[in-house]
């Protein structure tokens, strides 16, 4: 009787998905990512999210050149660009958890530097997506004055692509 296999690579289901390259990536730090908080991007995000807070809308369209922006602006602007690539992880990933601690306000015009790190990789057998890898990323975000504005822990679940025939 054959062992159950993963969808694409024929790997035994109880064989670890964590490769030496992945193991080596744990604890590694990536290149800093830099991004400016643009008023126009915040305005577009507020529109996409049907923002109705009069104070936020007034701040976005007001005369203050550096208004405080809602916390979600930071989450949304930094989200995609700050995740480090981890070698060998299956290509598909879904966000499993997100943990943001805000330390100081973020303003329009702030130039944010994110220092990313791969904090941990764990594997899980079973669950909604089957045999999968959970990669925990950590970011420290600081503004142009070196003041920390947020600390983030994000976990991404990676899993092999499903067989189109539905056998996985």
């Amino acid at each position: 009787m054959s062992e159950p296999t993963n969808a694409r690579d024929g790997q035994a289901a109880d064989e670890s998905l964590i490769t030496p390259a992945m193991q080596a990536a744990i604890g590694s730090e990536g290149e800093p990512v830099r991004v400016e908080i643009s008023r126009e991007v915040v305005r577009r995000m507020a529109e996409a999210l049907d923002e109705d807070d009069p104070a936020i809308l007034a701040a976005i369209d007001g005369d203050d050149p550096h208004p405080v922006v809602p916390s979600y602006a930071l989450i949304c602007i930094l989200s995609h660009m700050s995740e480090m690539r981890v070698p060998d992880v299956p290509g598909h990933g879904l966000m499993a958890a997100d943990d943001w601690t805000y330390l100081n306000p973020v303003r329009v015009g702030d130039r944010i530097t994110v220092r990313p790190r791969v904090a941990d990789i764990q594997e899980r057998i079973g669950g909604r997506v089957g045999h999968s890898l959970f990669v925990r990323h950590e970011w420290i975000c600081a503004n142009q004055n070196g003041v920390e504005i947020a600390r983030v822990r994000r976990t991404i679940a990676h899993y092999p692509e499903r067989d189109p025939a539905g056998s996985a």
Partner: protein, 140 residues
Amino acid sequence: MSAPRTYAEIREGEELPPQERLPTHRKVLMFIGASWQWVPQFHEQATAERMGLEGPIVPGPARMAFLEQFLRRWLGGAGTLKRIHITHRRPDYHDRPITIGGTVTRKYEEDGGKLVDFELWIENQAGMPSVRGNATVTFD
């Protein structure tokens, strides 16, 4: 938006009235464009299906933003969000309504500050949890 709530007004165990929200395909695309998160499963049917999903999903950061907005509306703009932590239980899909809710779990003073903890959640149309989380708000 409700009137700004004070720390004194908030009661432990108080329920935040649930609100329904419809993340339309158009609004999700606007969000992806604004935040430049062109992740295929957020907008491509074929990629979503290859990942075992029913269709393009609502991005996790958008769901986090929904919770933040929900909380701020209930607070009437009072307080400052100090921390938010969420776990994604199952995807939410474009053009399917979701319900957002929460509860006050604890209010306390710490290091001279006044804090309130909340439990937050999103449920899908079938009443299944898609996001569970908690947040801490500080008051002056």
